[in-house]
């Protein structure tokens, strides 16, 4: 039996009614009376299934019978398996909140007073509830270009919403008053035929909208396609901005002429089965991934134009040499920081993970002779992050797993590590949830708390830090993993919320440490954002955000014998300074490995790529597409140690270039210093060695 009941005055109206119903739903029970001796054998709920509208209500009634069919009084408990979509109150009143197929449950708890160890209601039944989508209210067709030409094709964009105001994506039916003039095909493309006028109609449910399409004769007689002046030969990975225009018989440019781009390639004879060798994006940005003669084609309205470009291997590959090591083999190593000390010597600090709260201080002045100068131990299991102030006077380490669960951070005097590192402050006020990550802006410490927010501490006197500000998102289920500060903007990494930029004094939006102001964000679909590195390209001047993933979709056994594997890649977005926000333009991805911490300097990206080792990538110039495929990888180094915490299992945590060397921390083997060297023989895997 189906029952549909409209709004009921007894629920009030609007938000008030929703609150009232929600409260009742939380109560979620109908107490029908004291238990009788009869055993309940049947629970009948009527109606057995429901259809209610959004905002509508319906009444459920429950009857409990014994085996003889006699009605008995027993407690019946109602609850919803989708309480944010459909609610039920103690009296069995149901109200619909969101469209969809949902389930309510009615149950008769075990006999009161019984101590049966079998935990289950004695009777339970499900009531399917259908809440149909509200009727579609509107369909809109985005404005078309001012000029439309016979014989051309262009995409048409639409949007739709229902009566609740929610956006919908209905399957549209298209029709045309004159299909020989204009029609929309099954791929959503507006196909223009003869000159004339036609009315194109989009329909779904009982709603339709139409647009008048005026198609002019096509004046174009030729297309021109060009690359920037002088572009004859490029390297793989270079972005070439192709420009195409249509012209009429008089040589005048035809405005709004729709064009599509494609490319094809003739690779050298030595490069067999190259796969996709190049791509060109809808805006005309062309990138060669393989060497060869590439031809870009622009097409529109039966006209085409071509332009060829030769691409040669990028040839950025370097070899590496291990310069020195600070091995840590009895526990996991976490992050690192390298700096020049006040005494002119160079130092590095590394943290430890899942151990007993150590941070190690190394003299790395001579990277070929790295040696431990001091060890600090705090009450923690993990010292996940380590940072040193820009003036080299103090360091901050985060604590996780403190024995009293008051984690917080510890400030260390590192003015003279050779003579000893001293603890000068501990701070855990409202940072008890574990400080997984910290950053030291010149006079402030940003410290994550419990994966929810970061607090901003004044550290003008590092012996006495105190809170001045705090930033936390307000999105549902928000989290945070990392924060990095550059030029008064804090860039935090927030999983599904992506990289979030907050003005704490340099963003021009009135922000300050005691008044952080969110500027914008760059988020991406997989929701794995773990690290972010802001960087202004030296070669293009563009502001870029490098956003690293972290995920472990495969088995992971820190105490096992086999190497572990992670997944994810680096998302690269161009950041709009005027309208803060990011647009993803490129990626760097090593299949079957996953990223961790990042560093970008001198247009070179350094990635701690967990089981993929250290990766060094050329990020000069404009960036589009898959940088790995384009031969932009300069080097990779896998720090295998047969005596490591896990043997021969590279798992690079973090990199830092410093004074011509690359320092890296490896989870299983500690601190490494390497340098890149020119290869004796150029090696571009898969490319011809011209």
């Amino acid at each position: 039996m189906l029952a549909t009941i409209g709004r009921k005055g007894g629920f009030g109206s609007g938000p008030q009614r929703m609150r009232a119903v929600t409260a009742l739903v939380l109560a979620g029970v109908f107490v029908a009376g004291a238990a009788f001796a009869q055993e309940p054998a049947e629970l009948v709920v009527t109606p057995a299934e429901l259809t209610v509208e959004v905002g509508g209500a319906a009444q459920l009634a429950a009857t409990v019978r014994d085996a003889a069919g006699n009605e008995i009084e027993r407690t019946v408990l109602f609850f919803s398996r989708a309480r944010r979509s459909v609610g039920v109150n103690p009296a069995g009143m149901v109200e619909g909140y969101r469209p969809g197929e949902h389930t309510l449950v009615a149950m008769v708890p075990a006999e009161e007073g019984a101590t049966n160890r079998r935990a289950a209601a004695v009777l339970m039944t499900e009531i399917p509830v259908t809440i149909p989508f509200p009727p579609l209210a509107s369909i809109s067709i985005a404005a078309l270009p001012g000029n439309l030409y016979a014989g051309t094709t262009l995409p048409v964009a639409t949007s739709a919403s229902d009566s609740s105001g929610a956006e919908r994506n209905p399957e549209l039916s298209w029709s045309s008053s004159n299909a020989s003039v204009a029609m929309v095909n099954e791929f959503g493309m507006l196909v223009l035929g003869d000159a004339g006028t036609a009315t194109v109609t989009a329909s779904a449910e009982s709603v339709s909208t139409e647009v008048e399409v005026r198609v002019a004769d096509n004046p174009a007689v030729r297309l021109e396609l060009s690359a920037p002046t002088g572009t004859v030969e490029v390297r793989t990975g270079d972005v070439v901005r192709m420009s195409a225009s249509a012209f009429d018989v008089s040589g005048n440019e035809v405005p709004d002429y729709p064009l599509q781009y494609a490319s094809f390639t003739r690779t050298p004879a030595t490069l067999v089965a190259p796969g996709a060798a190049a791509f060109v994006e809808p805006d005309g940005a062309f990138v060669a991934e393989r060497a060869g003669l590439h031809t870009v084609v622009a097409a529109g309205g039966g006209l085409t134009a071509r332009h060829s470009i030769r691409a040669v291997p990028r040839n950025v590959r370097k070899d590496w040499e291990i310069v020195g090591r600070g091995p840590v083999r009895d526990r996991h190593t976490s992050d690192l920081w390298v700096w020049e000390g006040l005494d002119g010597r160079d130092y590095a600090v590394t943290g430890t993970w899942g151990a007993d709260g150590h941070a190690y201080f190394w003299d790395v002045t001579d990277p070929s002779s790295i040696h431990l100068v001091d060890t600090v131990r705090v009450d923690a299991r993990t010292v996940n992050d380590v940072k040193v102030s820009p003036d080299g006077k103090f360091a901050v380490i985060g604590r996780e797993g403190a024995s009293n669960r008051r984690n917080g951070l510890v400030v260390l005097d590192v003015q003279n590590p050779t003579d000893g590192v001293k603890i000068i402050a501990r701070y855990d006020d409202q940072l008890t949830g574990g400080v997984h990550n910290v950053f030291i802006a010149p006079q402030h410490i940003l410290a994550l708390s419990g994966g929810r927010r970061y607090d901003i501490l004044n550290a003008e006197d590092p012996t006495n830090p105190y809170r001045v500000g705090r930033f936390e998102l307000d999105t549902p289920g928000h989290g945070i993993h990392d924060v990095w500060v550059q030029d008064g903007i804090a860039w935090s990494s927030n999983w599904t919320d992506g990289v979030v930029a907050v003005d704490i004094g340099g963003g021009g939006m009135g922000g300050a440490p005691n008044n952080p102001v969110m500027m914008g964000s760059f988020k991406y679909p997989n929701g794995w954002n773990h690290a972010g590195f802001p960087y202004r390209s030296q070669s293009t001047g563009k502001m870029l955000v490098f956003a690293g993933d972290e995920n472990f979709p495969w088995s992971f056994e820190p105490g096992g014998d086999l190497p572990d594997r992670a997944a994810g890649w680096v998302h690269i977005a161009e950041w709009d300074d005027e309208d803060p926000g990011g647009r993803e333009v490129a990626r760097y991805q090593v299949p079957e490995a996953g990223t961790h911490n990042l560093w970008v300097e001198d247009d070179i990206l350094y990635v701690g790529y967990y089981n993929g080792g250290l990766r060094v990538v050329d990020v000069s110039g404009d960036l589009r597409g898959d940088l790995y495929q384009q031969g932009r990888e300069i080097a990779f180094f896998e720090p295998a140690d047969p005596e490591g915490y896990k043997r021969n299992a590279p798992f690079v945590w973090g990199p830092q270039p410093f004074k011509g060397h690359i320092f890296l921390s490896d989870w299983n083997s500690g601190l490494w210093a390497i340098k890149l060297v020119d290869p004796e023989t150029p090696r571009n895997m898969g490319e011809p060695t011209s």
Binding site: V25, L26, G28, V29, V31, T75, L77, F79, S80, R81, A82, P90, V105, M107, P109, A110, E112, G113, A114, T115, N116, R117, R118, A119, A120, A121, R331, G354, A355, D356, G357, R377, D379, A380, R381, T382, E400, G401, S403, R405, T432, G433, G434, H436, S449, G450, G451, R452, G477, H478, G479, I480, T496, E550, F552, F556, E557, P558, D564, W667
Partner: protein, 377 residues
């Protein structure tokens, strides 16, 4: 086996008192068990759960179950419990993004069966034998001191079907035998709450503190708690004893409170001694003995509930005692010890009658949540 729960009562109390006076803590069970006793124990800083067996062959690790989703984050398995039918165990994991989760496993095989996202730092939990629903307190340990909730989870589908507003830092959650009342405490409100598991609402609140503006101890002050500075800082509430008493750990004022459920008042206050800081409690099935972990005192307290006197308080073998359970035959108390830093966690077995420690085993770091399993689904 000669030890039996029926022994408790005046006779046993005398025996316990005599034992406490005469006997030091031995390292060996004078009468090894003839059957097996199982516990599941969380290693909160290793993201593992350890299944242990104490029996004729000693104290052994049966299985180590890695838990959590992010291997390079410490997610913190904290609370653990067994379904009344013994077929499943449930585990709360404190840290997520940012919300914690509760997970369902099959006992014995330890196969993961499902999970649900709850609130901030879900911690202690219990299952109602009347409804089969799981009630999990959202401790929100590291958040602002704002009221939190108890999540109600349908364990068949692992869906959170309701949240019950309770108070600041709810912790400890133990069910009565009927499964229609859950007892929990709000640590920063100095409150014991009684949850109506059928109505999904707080049935009664009991203020345990001494705020002069709050009246005498034991007065029900509803939701005034947020205005008071916590003194008692309760961290645990036991299941009700057969005599209708619930025992509350006063971690802040080193006391154990006995609450009479009929009058809903504090009927006794047992002074644990300065610095002992009771954290978790468990009572024997007859309500004769209470076992308490003293988190700061590094001791295990055995109390005669008839007389209200401390029987013994042996020093634990590792720092930071955390959880305690009592075997189904009331013979053993099994205690988890967190340790500090890189120390392993430890689980100790005490013979309740003699208050002697009879065995111990090291497990993963920060051994915390612990639950007894009789080994039978």
């Amino acid at each position: 086996m000669t030890h039996a729960r029926r022994a408790f009562g005046p006779t046993l109390v005398l025996l316990l008192l005599a034992a406490s006076l005469a006997a030091p803590v031995f390292a060996e069970d004078p009468e090894p068990p003839r059957r097996n006793y199982f516990v599941y124990v969380c290693a909160e800083s290793d993201d593992t759960v350890h299944q242990l067996r104490y029996g004729p062959t000693g104290f052994e690790e049966v299985a180590v179950i890695p838990v959590g989703a992010f291997p390079t984050e410490t997610e913190g398995p904290h609370g653990i419990n067994i379904s009344p039918d013994g077929r499943h165990w449930f585990l709360s994991i404190a840290h997520g993004m940012p919300f914690g989760t509760v997970h369902k496993y099959e006992t014995g095989s330890n196969e993961w069966l499902g999970d649900a996202t709850l609130g901030l730092f879900p911690a202690t939990m219990d299952v109602s034998p009347a409804t089969g629903l799981l009630y999990v307190v959202n401790f929100n340990l590291h958040g602002d001191h704002v009221p939190s909730t108890i999540s109600v989870v349908e364990t068949g589908t692992m869906i959170e079907v309701a949240t019950i507003d309770t108070g600041v830092m709810p912790h400890g959650a133990r069910m009565n035998a009927r499964g229609d009342r859950l007892y929990s405490v709000n640590m920063m409100d100095d409150e014991l709450v009684e949850v109506d598991t059928m109505r999904f609402e707080i049935a009664r609140r009991l203020y345990l503190g001494t705020d002069p503006h709050a009246g005498h101890t034991g007065m029900d002050h509803g939701d005034m708690g947020h205005m008071r500075a916590p003194v008692v800082k309760p961290t645990w509430a036991t299941k009700p004893s057969p005599a209708g008493k619930v025992y509350v750990a006063g971690n802040g004022d080193s006391a154990i409170y006995e609450v009479d459920l009929e009058t809903w008042t504090v009927s006794r206050r047992l002074d644990a001694g300065a610095g002992e800081n009771p954290y978790n409690l468990e009572i024997t099935s007859d309500g004769g003995v209470l076992v308490a972990t003293y988190k700061s005192g590094h001791r295990i307290g055995f109390w005669n509930l008839e007389s209200g006197e401390l029987i013994a308080a042996p020093e634990a073998t590792r720092r930071v005692p955390h959880g305690v359970v009592v075997s189904d035959d009331d013979r053993y108390a099994i205690v988890s010890l967190e340790g500090i830093g890189g120390e392993p966690g430890t689980v100790e077995v005490y013979d309740i009658a003699s208050t002697q420690r009879v065995d111990r085993i090291d497990i993963g770091k920060q051994a915390g949540g612990i639950i007894y399993w009789n080994g039978e689904p």
